[in-house]
């Protein structure tokens, strides 16, 4: 098959998961109905690692559970591999779920079964004989690096090992789809990194479509290709991670990214200096040019806070740079020159934006 044919067939095949105007409301015992998911339309192609980020209560979990029919939409359709999940009978749902592995924040391993039997469980439920199921369990346990814990009970495992067992279990029946429900939220940062690396590795190696929900942007940053930002049941922003995080359009996205936004007050309060914020959003491929920055801001200019990172190969981040006020005789020109270096430039003073003309 030629490359062009390959691209064509890929474009023609149905997306792994598609939401069409999906809504779901919950009615709490003491109050009015709350929209958990409101009119979501979204398409996730095969092989993609797709992240859904939002605060708790944003509806991420409900949305994820609609993919394998654990939740039903009130209106709209969810398609998996071109099939309408809502139209499936019990048998159809069982078949769908066997092709969609799921991992959980709380791991959800059976305490009374060994790690091997936990991993073999989906196969045993599908009618695979004990011996064959255990052999397959050992294969996946090797894949996740947990071979030496096969005979151990889950209570003897660390959090990271439990999640590895959870991932092995999700992969046991050779799924096409991997659903991750806050899989790293109960883990420490280092373990989180190793689990994310594992997820990324198995997703790519097995060609899985991976859909993960999280409230931590680190998770998205580490493994997602595209991200949807969810708030109050709606998708407020969706796109490649570098673009959504590099140039967030929506308030919620900004606030999720905001942990590094505030500048030290003492730095801002100095009246002999002006602090500039330079945004690098990856869109135009510009990176911080320190030599040019020095030429514009003159002697004594310094970086006071911030930094950049690479998202999918593109630079994203913000630098706060302070320059002595005496170097800035022509603020308009300084700003114009700075704007050639970065996607967006602002002047920061006591935490508020001020007009450049007030400076001199």
């Amino acid at each position: 098959m030629s490359a062009a044919q390959d691209i064509l067939s890929r474009a023609l095949e149905p997306p792994a998961v598609a939401f069409e105007g999906v809504s779901r409301r919950f009615t709490p015992r003491n109050g009015a109905a709350v929209a958990a998911v409101a009119d979501v339309t979204l398409s996730i192609p095969r092989g993609e690692v797709f992240g859904i980020i939002g605060r708790s209560g944003a509806g991420k979990s409900t949305l994820l559970r609609m993919i394998n029919g654990l939740e039903r939409p009130d209106s709209g359709r969810v398609h998996v591999d071109g099939r309408d999940v809502g139209s499936l009978d019990e048998n159809g749902l069982v078949a769908l779920r066997r092709k969609a592995g799921m991992i959980f924040q709380g791991f959800n391993l059976l305490s009374a079964s060994s790690v091997r039997d936990n991993v073999a469980l989906p196969l045993r439920l599908a009618g695979v004989a004990k011996r064959a199921a255990r052999a397959r369990a050992d294969e996946v346990l090797e894949l996740v690096g947990l071979t030496d814990k096969a005979d151990v009970y889950p209570s003897k495992l660390s959090g990271g090992q439990k999640q590895r067992a959870g991932i092995a279990r999700a992969l046991a029946s050779n799924p096409d789809l991997l659903l991750s429900d806050e899989a790293t939220s109960a883990l420490d940062p280092e373990t989180t990194r190793s689990i994310l690396a594992l997820l990324k590795d198995v997703s790519r190696r097995l060609g899985l479509t991976t859909i993960l929900i999280t409230h931590e942007m680190e998770v998205i940053r580490a493994i997602a290709d595209r991200v949807a930002v969810m708030d109050a049941g709606r998708i407020v922003e969706v796109g490649p991670v570098w673009r959504v995080f590099g140039r967030p359009e929506h308030e919620i996205t900004r606030s999720l990214l905001a942990h590094d936004e505030a500048v030290d007050r003492e730095v801002l309060a100095r009246d002999d200096e002006v602090v500039f914020a330079l945004h690098f959003d990856g869109v135009d491929g510009r990176e911080p040019d320190l030599f040019a920055l020095g030429q514009i801001l003159g002697a004594g200019a310094r970086v006071v806070q911030g930094g950049v990172e690479r998202l999918q190969g593109r630079v994203r981040g913000r630098l706060f740079v302070a320059a002595p006020r005496r170097n800035l005789a022509n603020p308009d020109e300084v700003l114009a020159r700075l704007r050639r270096l970065a996607g967006q430039v602002e002047i920061v003073s006591e935490g508020v934006w001020v007009d450049a003309r007030q400076l001199v």
Binding site: L70, A100, G106, L110
Partner: protein, 217 residues
């Protein structure tokens, strides 16, 4: 202890063992499914069905609130229907089972409801049917707690079986009543009580041991 009295002890012990053994087995066979049904049909259960849960719970509560001695008499027609007689060892088994099965059902319900919901969700996500969730998840995960609940049930049956003498079923309790209490033979009474203490301790100890061995949490 004179030989004849010793023989009486052995006979009484055997009668108690048969009563507890048979009605214990029956209570397990009836109470476990009943408990699973109560748990499954409760709100939020895997088979949530209020129309079934409420009457079932009401019947269970009604039986549990009736004092055993009254149950023993009130059930005589039923006993006669099932066993063919209303006196003797066989006749005691019916009321003992009727009293113990709902008791164990409630304990089993609590055990099953104690299985974390996340496990049920994980099983559903794997494509488990309701029956599979029951057999592969709920029962194995609740097993240590089910064993503990059944142990408590058996101990309370040993207690109730003392009243079974009222329908001529014999047993240790009957021996204590007739020889100890009615004949003012404090020695026999004390001995029976000691045997009952040993019996209960042994049952409880065995139950605890099994439950501990099964518990991998």
């Amino acid at each position: 202890m004179p030989g004849s009295l010793f023989d009486l002890f052995l006979i009484a012990l055997r009668e108690t063992a048969v009563m507890i053994g048979v009605s214990g087995g029956l209570s397990l066979a009836i109470g476990l499914p009943l408990g699973l049904l109560l748990a499954a049909t409760s709100p939020g259960g895997v088979l949530a069905a209020r129309w079934l849960n409420l009457p079932l719970g009401a019947v269970v509560n009604a039986v549990r609130s009736t004092p055993f001695i009254i149950l023993l008499v009130a059930l005589i027609p039923l006993t006669r229907l099932i066993v063919g007689t209303s006196i003797g060892l066989g006749a005691a088994i019916v009321p003992l089972t009727v009293a113990a099965a709902p008791f164990f059902a409630r304990l089993a319900e609590i055990s099953v409801r104690g299985v974390p919901g996340g496990l049920i969700e994980a099983a559903r996500a794997m494509g488990a049917t309701r029956r599979q969730i029951l057999w592969w998840v709920l029962i194995p995960e609740a097993l240590p707690s089910l064993v503990a609940g059944f142990t408590v049930t058996v101990v309370s049956m040993i207690n109730s079986s003392a009243m079974a003498g009222a329908v001529g079923a014999g047993g240790l309790g009957d021996l204590a009543m007739r020889f100890g209490y009615q004949r003012f033979d404090n020695t026999v009474m004390a001995e029976v009580v000691v045997i009952l203490i040993v019996l209960v301790t042994a049952v409880q100890g065995a139950g605890d041991f099994v439950a501990r061995r099964l518990d991998r949490r």
